[in-house]
Symmetry: D2
Subunit: 229 residues, 4 copies
């Protein structure tokens, strides 16, 4: 399973609307929209729900976090191997709700690569995006923390965060894809994000807490198609 | 599903011998021994493996950790609800490889109780055991960290850690069961632990990394039976 | 230098009004009021200001935190020894802005005792107060976090937090003194706190950010005198 | 006070040999050697000792760590302002004994710059060095953690860690100076470090725990002079 860009990654967080069997329902919705539009959509459920999502769908499934520890005596941690065995193909790292030490991001990216997981590492601004790009993840997802969950889209409120991140990341490592996120609720927010140079979006409440997640995802996917032609 | 005492709780940690499908195999072994001996045996697999274990066995399954956050915008965290939805009936907390703030232990115990999960909170010595008992978990599991994984049994090397913990915990809250652990690899270690007043054991490498986990678990279960009559 | 009760402990936090030489000015004000009223008043400046405060005043000076590490290779940590060498006689621990693991609170209390520092350990509610009392600090200071810095006094808004803490702490270890804090800005808040069974108050913004800290401290000290007769 | 290169920065950690008045003695020794050789030597004492060192010597004094919080309600934290008011001119950050989140390193560098403190940010390998360089500190100090305190010098055991770091850092931001450290106990280790392209060394036990710190520092300083001509 390969990621193609533009890429929409839906972070389920631990919203009650996306726990347990609801995670499967939402993932199936994402799969349907992806299949119908041809836009690559991934989902990132809670660690306890990875298996039920991967065994019910065939879209890219990400963990929301992994720990740097290899298999061994590390009670309560989540190694790359466990995520891989649960069928995930990648992991988010360093989300604003789960920030990591710089050396641990480096370790986690290496461990993920060793077991064959794709990494999407979050950052809060262009300079941190640049720092993370130096660690060679597959994707950097820049999200101004103050906009997360607000419905005020980063692509409108802080467009230079996106353009500066694209420039900084490209300068350090041109193989790293740039996603952006925070406050994205409409197709036009997604289109604008892609026009500004990002290769996709990291979204959460805009989809998970929407009244009609399918309609929102379809709007996002269609915006991706339009913006990237 | 109810816990009965003496209770053997097998912490799978993130040992490679107990990740993915191997978690199921080991849990089935525990189930077989429990069923044949009548001794209550629980297992605590990695969060990503909870669902596959609970859907393949009917013994008590514990998470190795939960986070205090309720469902919501908390990327990468593991709420009590997710563990419950994955079929677990309890959780370990504050393991020496995953220590927690005192206020967070309090929060986690309350959250676990709210969703109907049993709590087994680890401690490193009698005074911390007493502190934890004041927070009213279901079980306190005392484990001198320096003995964990060594094969030097707490019940032999530091018997007063067990007796002092039993006394301290009982003084604060007599409803809290006391388990002990660290270095337990033989039936006689288990028997001694119970004779010293504990109501069971928390074990990990002694079972998970044993050449013949079934034989070890059987020896443990039989020691429980003998020691408690 | 001994603490006597009722005790007023002024946490300078890292308020700009109490950094550098301003820490000395505020400590001298506290010393003056203490000397004139006979009520014991302690101050807790930033670690970098301990020495300048202890060398300019003779009231009890507390650190706001210590780390559990003994002297050795622990860059950036603050051992009990350093605080003692800087002339402090005690330390706050586990403040709501700096919560600690339960085993680390235990370690810090032991390390503080070993070098001769008094400990005042904060808690957020009666059950955590009870847990901390089991670790035998000199004082527990209960502060509902949601009231800290609000000006809504714990002694008025949540009197049972104080009475329940006094009861729980006394049941576990009657030698532990109970302070309370959060939202205390007037003498009557202090008086009420003492009438409810506490042996003093932990205050911060109510004094540090007051227009006239001397007047506020005098009001607090006089309330202590009235309430304890 | 300005840093000049080659630069020797002596991290006092919390070694008992460098706490309290002993910090002053050691700093005076460093000052003497610096004055006699003309090589810039800085010292980094414990936060509680900053003031006594800065008020007794005139060499560059660094904190071992700062916290990202600005002045305000942050009990037990160490803001850049407090370090500055204590007379320090810079701070170490992200030492292997005190690692930080990537966003917090970014915040701390910005806060340090705002109050006029120089930053020396530690890293564990070339890729993390590159990441940190992207955050524009004044110095990056690369130290393989496994060599710290061993007496096996990085410049001999892992020379490519130094050359790769110099190359990576220069590519990202040529204004960032590169120091190196770990296992450095002799003049030849220092000379080799500088020949490999670093602009100085971060040392700790090699000086602090030496029988004759003055002789060691003199050997280091003379090696700097020779290697940089």
């Amino acid at each position: 399973m390969k990621i193609s860009y533009p890429f929409i990654l839906v972070n389920f967080k631990i919203y009650k609307e996306a726990l347990g069997e609801r995670a499967v329902t939402l993932a199936k919705t994402a799969e349907k929209v992806s299949s119908e539009t041809g836009v690559c959509i991934g989902v990132a459920p809670c660690s306890a729900d990875l298996l039920r999502v991967t065994s019910s769908t065939s879209i890219p499934v990400f963990a929301q976090h992994i720990d740097p520890q290899p298999p061994g005596a590390h009670t309560g941690h989540l190694p790359a191997e466990a995520v891989k065995l649960a069928g995930a193909i990648g992991t988010i790292l360093n989300h604003s709700e789960n920030r990591l030490r710089v050396d641990i991001i480096d370790d986690c990216i290496n461990r993920a690569r060793d077991v064959g997981l794709v990494t999407c590492v979050c950052s809060n601004n262009p300079s941190v995006s640049k720092a993370i790009a130096a660690l060679s993840p597959d994707m950097v997802a820049v999200e101004p923390p103050e906009l997360i969950g607000t419905g005020i889209p980063v692509s409108k409120a802080k467009p230079t965060v996106i353009t500066d991140t694209v420039e900084a990341v490209t300068a350090v490592n041109s193989k790293v894809a740039v996603l952006c996120g925070a406050g994205i609720t409409r197709g036009e927010d997604v289109a604008r994000a892609i026009e500004l140079g990002s290769q996709g979006v990291l979204v959460a409440s805009g989809v998970v807490k929407a009244k009609d997640p399918e309609a929102v995802l379809r709007e996002f996917a269609e915006a991706c198609l339009k913006a990237s032609t």
